[in-house]
Symmetry: C2
Subunit: 324 residues, 2 copies
Amino acid sequence: MDMTFTEAPLGGQAYDQYGHPYPEFTQKVCRAADAVLLGAVGGPQYDNLDRPLRPERGLLGIRKDLGLFANLRPAVLYPELANASTLKPEVVAGLDIMIVRELTGDVYFGQPRGMRVNEEGEREGFNTMVYSESEVRRIAHVAFQIAMKRQKKLCSVDKANVLETTEFWKEIVIDVASEYPEVELSHMYVDNAAMQLIRNPKQFDVMVTGNIFGDILSDEASMLTGSIGMLASASLNETKKGLYEPSHGSAPDIAGKNLANPIATVLSAAMMLRYTFDNEAAAQRIENAIKKVLAAGYRTGDIYEEGMKRVSCSEMGDQIVAAM
Amino acid sequence: MDMTFTEAPLGGQAYDQYGHPYPEFTQKVCRAADAVLLGAVGGPQYDNLDRPLRPERGLLGIRKDLGLFANLRPAVLYPELANASTLKPEVVAGLDIMIVRELTGDVYFGQPRGMRVNEEGEREGFNTMVYSESEVRRIAHVAFQIAMKRQKKLCSVDKANVLETTEFWKEIVIDVASEYPEVELSHMYVDNAAMQLIRNPKQFDVMVTGNIFGDILSDEASMLTGSIGMLASASLNETKKGLYEPSHGSAPDIAGKNLANPIATVLSAAMMLRYTFDNEAAAQRIENAIKKVLAAGYRTGDIYEEGMKRVSCSEMGDQIVAAM
Ligand SMILES: CC(C)[C@H](C(=O)O)[C@@H](O)C(=O)O
Ligand SMILES: CC(C)[C@H](C(=O)O)[C@@H](O)C(=O)O
């Protein structure tokens, strides 16, 4: 496969160079690209910037700009790393959940929002949680299609007993389900889902939920594995264009020290080959190389255990390339 | 202490008797009471009722009606039950977190809300997330005061990088903090909090957050203990009037079989003595009795382990009374 690479900054680095976390230059490059591979965006030096200039805004900006409504976040536990989890091995061994999070709607983007003085003369902060029918429909289709390629079990997470937004969500998901009779659909309240992920995470195959619940549950699920440095994610639009990034943050404490675990980023590239370029063989070649390297005992510091071979970020990269 | 008890139905039972989950009779009794001790409210037979008639509505109704804005949910792991957790014993042994959840605001009660056809002619569901200054201020005071009586560490959970409601929340919490210089205040994003509860839950002493984040995180935290049948909760108004209830649900599968674990309800009564009636001695007497009964090996089915003495709900109650 022939690929052309172009670099453009996002988040903190973009602010440093262009004074904006998602500058025009980056917009142009990313709009023209088939896929975007992203590092992590934050850092404490940006914490006191005005809200619209902070690194997170770059991330929210590119998601909305490219219409990346479908965020796929696998939570997978590699057998070699079962000890890394804070959960008992028998509870998490073999864990393989795919969380499908809606990414361009909900209270993240709903209008109106802001701070104001209310009718009683008091200050208040407010946001709007909202989902339209087409927004729910398209993410539901993505989730059902992914379930069809896996264990055919889909759990839709809502708070339909309290929030009309998610009561509506549930209604549309049920409607879409009729097109996927082979998929076993269940529904769970978000508070219960947060519990069940701890009580018995292996009950789940694919989960689908809105932006804010997905933010919380996908991070919770990834921490079940104990090795968030291993987890990739994809954010797709309607034409398979995608942004691919590790699930972990920018880890400012180890930045520049050649210590980070590169596997999440490498696996993100594998997801890119799978979802944007439909090249399943290439994706699996990368994934298998990573399995080999783990089986051979190579570990970056975050997943190091006694008796294993501790390697730097670049050494891990070299090992993966060699294993391919 | 002399107490007068009155019974009134809420939720499903109230619907059966009065056609409403929080009927006038119950409103009168509860408004006149100093404290309310509540069982659990749901059941599958009510799932198809109209939304305003469902059991949950009774719960939301009584919270709002009595102004019970401060929900205290301890997540405590008794040393005897460390094995019940799905987390490794060393991660959770000695766990003692108090989650302070705001209970009468946020997207639970914000207006406007509902379903509608939007400007593009599409159906949508929507809710309003909102917190006023006084709402945040009073729950912050409750949280700081509780932290003062514990390890003096308070973590406020928000999503201030995305939601103005919680950016405002954070600002007010910081303002209130100046009145409690001894308390060490930290802030955490809700997605990170969901992870940290799994990675290292013992880093937390008191956590304070809004209604919906609190719903999710308090359930997550309670499941860390593996024994939700042991966890009590209190919901207080500004004059110490309180509603006390177990953290677990109505467990329709074992209802009426004398199998439930009564400890969460008994501990709720202990919280009632502590918070509404300022009778710390009586509260501790109950709590100590429960510790004794556990140490003596008595277990209901939900917390049973080999070698222990399996007892029914009523036998457990008798043992607690005997231990007092
Ligand atoms: C950085 C933040 C805006 C972002 C989000 O909340 O979506 C992050 O938590 C994520 O999950 O990608
Ligand atoms: C039953 C439901 C309305 C309620 C809530 O969401 O507050 C419950 O989950 C709780 O936490 O007490």
